[in-house]
C-alpha cells in the first residue's frame, strides 16, 4: 500500500521537472524574443507576424547581422491564450534571457505580458491594436499598430470634410468592436460629431437587418460607422445594401482592411469607405509618397517568400523588428536599457504602418497621416483624394 502511494507521488515529481532544460546560449548572437498567437482564433494575425519575423531575421543575418552579431530569434506560440503568453514571457526573460521582445499578437496577451517586461526592464514592442497598451505610457512598452482611436479620428475627420455630423454606430461586441466603439464615443465631441444611434451585434450573428432598420428609422442619421472585425462587418455591409441604405455614407474600420472583406460583401461593398494603412494600396500610392518604397518592398518580399497575399498585420511585425534593429544599431550595444532609450528616440522611421516619431510621452509615434482613407470602387481599394 505504501509503495503504491510513494510511486504515485514520485511520478508526479518527475513529470514536473522533466524536459524543461534549454541549450546554453551562444555568445556571439543577439537574442530577440517573441510570443505570438500563431495558432488559435487569432492565427490570422499571428501567422503573418511569425512569417515576417522569420523572413527578415534570416535576411538580416544573411547580410551580416546587427553590429556584427547575428540575431537569434526565439518565437513561442501562445495559441491566443493570455495565461500561456504570460508563462512564455517569463520563459523568454528568465530562461532564454532575451534582450528585447517584438510580439504580443492580441491586446489580451500583451496586457498579460507587460508586467513581466516592465519588472525585468526589457523593451517590449507590442503588435496589438488597443490604445491601453501605450496609454498610460509604460517605460519599456512600445507598439507599432495604429490604435482604434486613430481610426475613429480619421473617419470623423473625413465626415467633417463632408459636413456630416449626425452618425449612427453599429458595433461588434467582440474585443475589437467594443474597444473601438468606446474610443469613437469618446472622441466624437472633439470633431463635433453627434451619435444619434448606437446599436451592436454579436460577432457570430448572421443577420443585422433589425439593428440597421432601427438606425435607418432614426431621424437625422447622416452617416453610419461600423467598428467591427471578421465576418460581422461583411454581413452588416450586405444588409445595408439590402435595406437600400446606400444613400447614407457608410464607413468601415481598419479591422476589415483585407481583400476577403470585399469578396464577402460583394457588390454591396461599393462606395464603402474605411481608414487603412498604406500597405493595402502600395501600388496605387504616388511615387512621391515616402512610404511607397517600404510597402512595395515588403509586399514583394513577403509574397515571394510565402506565396500568400500580404496583410497589414505582418507589416506591424516588420515595423517592430526594424524599429528595434535600428535602435540596437544606434545604441551599438546589447544592453536592454540602452536599447529602450534608443527606441524611444526613434524619429522619422518609415514603416509599413506610417512614419514613426516616438517620444517619452508617445510610445506609438504615429499620427493620422498613417491612415489613408480608402473607398471601395470596382471591387478594389481606391485612395480618396484629400478634400473630397
Amino acid at each position: 500500500m505504501q509503495t503504491k502511494a510513494t510511486l504515485k507521488t514520485l511520478l508526479a515529481a518527475s513529470v514536473v521537472g522533466f524536459g524543461l532544460s534549454q541549450a546554453a546560449l551562444a555568445q556571439e548572437t543577439i537574442k530577440i524574443g517573441s510570443v505570438l498567437s500563431v495558432t488559435g482564433p487569432s492565427s490570422f494575425l499571428g501567422e503573418p507576424e511569425d512569417k515576417t519575423l522569420r523572413i527578415y531575421v534570416d535576411k538580416i543575418n544573411a547580410t551580416g547581422g546587427v553590429n556584427g552579431k547575428k540575431i537569434e530569434l526565439v518565437i513561442y506560440d501562445d495559441g491566443g491564450d493570455a495565461n500561456k503568453a504570460r508563462t512564455f514571457a517569463t520563459r523568454l526573460i528568465e530562461d532564454d534571457e532575451v534582450i528585447a521582445m517584438v510580439g504580443g499578437t492580441t491586446t489580451g496577451s500583451t496586457m498579460a505580458m507587460i508586467p513581466v517586461f516592465e519588472d525585468a526592464k526589457v523593451p517590449f514592442i507590442s503588435l496589438a491594436g488597443a490604445i491601453e497598451v501605450i496609454d498610460p505610457v509604460r517605460k519599456f512598452v512600445f507598439k507599432t499598430p495604429h490604435t482604434d482611436k486613430m481610426a475613429c479620428e480619421k473617419i470623423f475627420e473625413d465626415l467633417k470634410k463632408r459636413n456630416l455630423t449626425k452618425i449612427g454606430l453599429i458595433s461588434g461586441t467582440d474585443g475589437f468592436g467594443a474597444s473601438m466603439r468606446a474610443q469613437c464615443v469618446k472622441v466624437a465631441p472633439n470633431y463635433g460629431m453627434q451619435i444619434v444611434a448606437d446599436e451592436n451585434y454579436g460577432p457570430r450573428d448572421s443577420d443585422m437587418t433589425a439593428q440597421l432598420t432601427k438606425i435607418k428609422n432614426t431621424a437625422g442619421v447622416q452617416a453610419v460607422v461600423n467598428p467591427g472585425f471578421g465576418q460581422g462587418p461583411a454581413i452588416v455591409t450586405r444588409n445595408y445594401a439590402q435595406l437600400g441604405m446606400n444613400s447614407i455614407p457608410f464607413y468601415q474600420s481598419h479591422g476589415v482592411a483585407s481583400k476577403s472583406f470585399i469578396d464577402l460583401a460583394g457588390a454591396a461593398a461599393e462606395g464603402v469607405r474605411l481608414p487603412a494603412a498604406a500597405l493595402l494600396v502600395g501600388d496605387k500610392l504616388p511615387e512621391s509618397d515616402p512610404q511607397k518604397k517600404v510597402v512595395t518592398e515588403y509586399k514583394q518580399t513577403y509574397e515571394s517568400a510565402t506565396k500568400q497575399p500580404v496583410s497589414t498585420f505582418g507589416g506591424h511585425a516588420y515595423d517592430g523588428l526594424f524599429i528595434l534593429v535600428e535602435a540596437m544599431k544606434r545604441a551599438n550595444s546589447t544592453d536592454s536599457e540602452k536599447i529602450r532609450d534608443e527606441i524611444e528616440k526613434t524619429k522619422g522611421f518609415v514603416g509599413t504602418g506610417g512614419i514613426v516619431n516616438m517620444s517619452a510621452t508617445d510610445h506609438l509615434g504615429l499620427d493620422l497621416s498613417a491612415f489613408r482613407m480608402l473607398e471601395i470602387k470596382g471591387g478594389d481599394w481606391n485612395l480618396v483624394a484629400s478634400g473630397s
Binding site: M1, A5, T9, G80, T90, E94, G108
Partner: protein, 315 residues
C-alpha cells in the same frame, strides 16, 4: 482503516516534500512560474475530480467558477473597494451560491443532458464576463490588484510558488479526508449506482449538490489565485476551452484519483512548455501523447501505473 489513514498521510507528506524540494533544483524563476501554474490547475482539477471521479457527475462548464473566482478578486478591489483577500472569499461564496442554485435543477439530469446543461452554464458565465465590459474590461480583460495579507504584498514567482503550493496541500488534504467520510462514501455509492445508493438510503439529490458546490469552491479559489498571480485576467479563463482542459486533466490523471489530478495537471501544463522544441509540430505531438496515453492507460495515468506495479508485486 489504519492502512488507509497511513496512505493518506503518506500522499500528503510526499506532496509536501516535493513542493519543498523542487526549488532546490529549479534554475530560474520561470520554473517557479510553471510549477505554480501546475499547483493552481491541480487545485481546480481536484475539486472537479470530487464531482466527476467520486460522485460520478460530469461538468463541462467548470471554468465558469474559475472565472467567477478570478473576476471576484479583479472587480471587488477595483470597483467596490473590497480588500483583495475578502474578495477571494466573496468569490468562493458566490460560486457556492451559484452552484447551489443552478445545481438543484440541473443535477436532476443525467449523462449527456447534464453535460449540456453544465456546458450552457459555462457559456453563459463567459458571455456575461466578456459582455459586461464596464465591470470586467470586456474581451481584453482587466488588471488585478496585488494581494495584500497583513501588510505583506504577495508578488513574484517565488512567493506565489509557496502560496499556491500551500493552497494545493490544503486542498489535497481536504479532498483525501473527504474520501473517507460518510459524505465521501455516499459520493462513491452515487458513482457506482445511483439506484442502489437510493435504495440504501443515500439522499441522492443532496449529495450530488454537495459535490457540485465543493467542486465550484475549489475552482473559484484556484481562479482567484491565478488572477492574483498574473495580476491580470481575461475571459478565456472562464471559457469553454478552459473547462475542457480541466476535464482533460481529471480524466488524463485518473478519475477518482486525487494524486491523478495533480499528475494530470503537471502533464498538461508542462507538456506545451516542453514541446516547444518541435515548433510547428507542437500541437501534433501534444495530441499524439494524449491519444496514446488514453489508449494505453484507459483509467488515467495514476490508476493505470499503480495498477501495473500492484500486478507486478503480486506475481
Amino acid at each position: 482503516m489504519g492502512a488507509l489513514t497511513n496512505q493518506r498521510f503518506l500522499i500528503l507528506a510526499v506532496l509536501a516534500v516535493v513542493i519543498a524540494v523542487l526549488p532546490f533544483v529549479f534554475p530560474s524563476s520561470y520554473y517557479f512560474r510553471v510549477a505554480s501554474l501546475v499547483w493552481v490547475s491541480a487545485l481546480a482539477a481536484i475539486g472537479l475530480n470530487i464531482l466527476m471521479g467520486q460522485a460520478g457527475q460530469v461538468s463541462l462548464g467548470h471554468a465558469a467558477f474559475f472565472g467567477i473566482g478570478a473576476y471576484a478578486v479583479a472587480i471587488g478591489p477595483a470597483h467596490l473597494g473590497i480588500p483583495p483577500w475578502a474578495a477571494l472569499l466573496i468569490g468562493a461564496a458566490l460560486s457556492a451560491v451559484l452552484a447551489y442554485l443552478v445545481g438543484r435543477p440541473i443535477l436532476r439530469l443525467k449523462g449527456h443532458y447534464l453535460a449540456i446543461a453544465t456546458l450552457g452554464l459555462g457559456v453563459l458565465v463567459a458571455l456575461v464576463i466578456s459582455t459586461e465590459s464596464g465591470w470586467t474590461g470586456g474581451p481584453d480583460g482587466m488588471p488585478v490588484e496585488r494581494l495584500i495579507l497583513f501588510g505583506w504584498r504577495v508578488s513574484g514567482s517565488y512567493t506565489w510558488y509557496w502560496v499556491t503550493g500551500a493552497l494545493l496541500l490544503v486542498g489535497t488534504w481536504i479532498a483525501l479526508n473527504l474520501d473517507e467520510t460518510p459524505t465521501g462514501r455516499a459520493f462513491r455509492a452515487l458513482h457506482d449506482s445511483e439506484v442502489a445508493a437510493q435504495v440504501v438510503g443515500v439522499d441522492v439529490a443532496r449529495f450530488k449538490l454537495q459535490a457540485f458546490v465543493i467542486a465550484a469552491v475549489y475552482a473559484s479559489i484556484a481562479g482567484s489565485a491565478l488572477a492574483f498571480m498574473n495580476g491580470f485576467i481575461n475571459p478565456d479563463q472562464a471559457g469553454f476551452l478552459h473547462s475542457v482542459e480541466l476535464v482533460t486533466i481529471v480524466v488524463l490523471g485518473g478519475l477518482g484519483s486525487i494524486v491523478g489530478s495533480i499528475v494530470g495537471a503537471a502533464v498538461l501544463v508542462t507538456l506545451p512548455q516542453a514541446l516547444t522544441i518541435f515548433h510547428e509540430y507542437e500541437h501534433l505531438m501534444l495530441g499524439l501523447i494524449i491519444i496514446v496515453s488514453m489508449i494505453f492507460m484507459r483509467n488515467g495515468i495514476v490508476p493505470s501505473v499503480s495498477g501495473l506495479f500492484l500486478r507486478r508485486a503480486r506475481s
